[in-house]
Symmetry: C2
Subunit: 415 residues, 2 copies
């Protein structure tokens, strides 16, 4: 069963706003077993909206539409939908009441533009917008379902999750879809592809494999379609087991989310804590760790020791080591990791020190040289990386590599 | 002149990746005076790619294509382009050499999949991919231009900026476009609009003004279209000079780049230093500051005080204040800013403390409540913000607001 997404709004076509709605909807539909086969972004222009609706109707059975429902003149989605369905707009009293309630709650007078927001297609089923004034609409026509929602992300997410998705599941039923994601580090995509060649060629047609590379790591995603979810789970389990020996130590774990979520999950399971001492990653590692909801349970804090004096004072790094080996060295990065873990009394700590560039490189330690250390009660491990492609990439890759090393040490601690 | 963007990749249609490439390209084209009229996202399937190319060719004169150029089997954009242009793939020796060089630099063996990445359409002009192995391609057919680029954002951005955009400007010629951006803080958009009313009304029709508000700051962007770039520069210079007295102390500076670059520029000019104490921004502020090359000259370091005990121990925040007012309060965030500045002996410091969510909110301090303080020898200023749309947005917006407040204080110190 094919679905399409249409996002409407001039702001998307001048790049003022990044379209995050499509990714949210695509993710939610794909988890519900529906394939999104196209996403189209069009401006707030009637002809563009109409032609896109027409084209999508020829290909898909479910069409999700976001945007263009605001109170101002440039929002014309409702008008275009009325033309498309040969329908007209009628005032909905429940919606009007909800709008009035929201306005009075905020001490704002109702104006004619607000009243117009209570107008919906006469043939639609209204989808309640708890967090805003523009209602969602559910339309059925020629065996197809159309869902119109506002473009404001948190309003759309609430309407979709609570109003649209349950109706979609009931309406379409359909295949089960099961995903597995393997996180792989330390091997380039092309080499990985060769390593997995025969395994990949033996995949049955209802199971697809995708390589999703990001900095310093590759996600291997298996997607199985079928009638029975349990059977699919079993098939994927067997495939993952068969892949394990092929991936060896490059396999970090099996996880659908991000590395930092996996760190959080593993630390929470162990009831363990974490602290950080960052130099060349400049706060990027802390930022990733704290992006996970609930991270305050295991992340105690960190230090960004950009200045050497700061390394000495706050992390008890020895001046001798700094002078003899330089800040970007195994002895210093290990002292940083031990220093912060001792200071913060955490179970694990990570330290980074490197030359992000563009300045600061030497023939022995060129730009992109990065040392990373992980400290725990099982000892300190450190590793040197050579990273490329400019300051931003070096900083980002340092974060990914540090998360990878940390995951490895957490995993080792449970063996 | 209409342009369209086609982004290709299964990962976009299951929502695993948010399409940031489209917004980047749409923004860049709109700055160059080209209108994007549609963005289409399709899976790595030949028929979908071909039909989308066909449709876009009927509407647009410039078609930008990203994605599907990786070394693995699921990437089929090149193959689809060959069918579309009735062309074939040939090995390009310069590209092959570049790939070989990148691989040997990293100590990786070349394999047959890498060699295949050096294949390009026989009729294309190769666009060099400095940061990756998949080359960009420039094709012309029936008066239309097609540009194919890899989907990895940093590779795409580099190819587009350095290789594609100059060719697009030459090919489509057209008007000169000149921009000026004024950064304004400490005044709401509506008040600013009144302050500038007569100045704005006197703008000639070929010069447009846009208010681009972000948290804690507004960018005023002037865009001039015309035949002669020099004339336009002169006109904009005069307009900026006329605006200066109207904006007074609210004008932070004139700057096209990022806020963190402007912080770096201003601190360097003043020969001043900076330290940070972050709680709810979780390292994001440090990460932004350190993303600027040369930031080690003015940024000394920072502390991420996630745990309250850490705030007490490292930043000398009073337990009394924590108990009486809570961590998210003016007294605590001001103590954090003073604590880190004193500890690091810097000229400026910034502290953040807030409730990023999803947990931790209360009726008095709901999720999204954020306090930010800036400390310097001229004193401590703090401000409370209310931010929305989930943990990630709250954290991002805290960083932007903190940079805005810091810029305001740096500017005030030079008066």
């Amino acid at each position: 069963m094919n679905a399409e997404i249409i996002t409407i709004g001039d702001e998307l076509l001048i790049g003022q706003v990044v379209d995050t709605n499509s990714a949210f909807l695509a993710d939610a539909l794909s988890h519900a077993g529906l394939d999104v086969s196209r996403i189209t972004t069009v401006p707030d222009r009637r002809d563009d909206i109409l032609s896109t609706l027409k084209e999508a109707s020829q290909r898909a059975r479910l069409i999700l539409i976001t945007g263009g429902l605001g109170p101002t003149k440039d929002d014309i989605t409702k008008e275009a939908l009325a033309v498309f369905f040969e329908d007209h707009l009628v005032q909905n009293n429940q919606v009007l009441e909800h709008i009035g309630h929201r306005m009075s709650e905020r001490g704002i007078e109702m104006n004619p533009l607000n009243v117009m927001q209570a107008e919906v297609l006469s043939s639609c089923e209204v989808l309640h917008n708890e967090l805003g004034t523009a209602p969602g609409m559910w339309m059925e026509s020629n065996g197809r379902v159309y869902v119109s929602m506002p473009g404001v992300p948190h309003e759309m997410i609430r309407i979709f999750t609570e109003e649209a998705l349950p109706r979609i599941k009931t309406h379409f039923g359909g295949d089960a879809i099961v995903h597995r994601v393997l996180l792989v580090t330390g091997v380039p995509e092309s080499a990985l592809s060769l390593q997995l060649e025969s395994w990949e060629q033996a995949l049955p047609p209802h199971i697809r494999l995708a390589y999703l590379p990001s900095l310093g790591m590759i996600r291997l995603r298996l997607t199985a379609h079928g009638k029975n979810e349990e059977t699919l789970e079993g098939e994927l389990d067997a495939l993952v087991e068969a892949a394990r020996p092929l991936l060896g130590r490059h396999l970090v774990g099996e996880h659908q989310g991000s590395l930092e979520e996996l760190v959080g999950k593993m630390l929470t399971e162990l009831n363990a804590t974490l602290s950080l001492a960052e130099s060349c990653s400049g706060g990027g590692l802390s930022r990733k760790i704290t992006s996970v909801p609930g991270s305050s349970q295991y992340f105690k804090g960190g230090i960004i020791a950009y200045d050497n004096l700061f390394k000495v004072r706050m992390l008890r790094v020895g001046r001798q080591n700094l002078l003899r080996h330089g800040a970007v060295s195994a002895p210093v990065v290990e002292e940083m990791a031990r220093g912060i873990r001792c200071r913060m009394k955490t179970d694990f700590s990570v330290a980074t020190s490197g030359i992000a560039g563009p300045g600061g490189g030497t023939p022995e330690k060129p730009v992109g040289t990065v040392w990373i250390a992980v400290d725990s009660k099982w000892g300190t491990v450190s590793r040197c990386f050579r990273m490329f492609d400019g300051r931003e990439r070096v900083m980002e890759r340092t974060v990914t590599a540090a998360l990878g090393m940390l995951l490895g040490e957490i995993a080792r601690s449970t063996e």
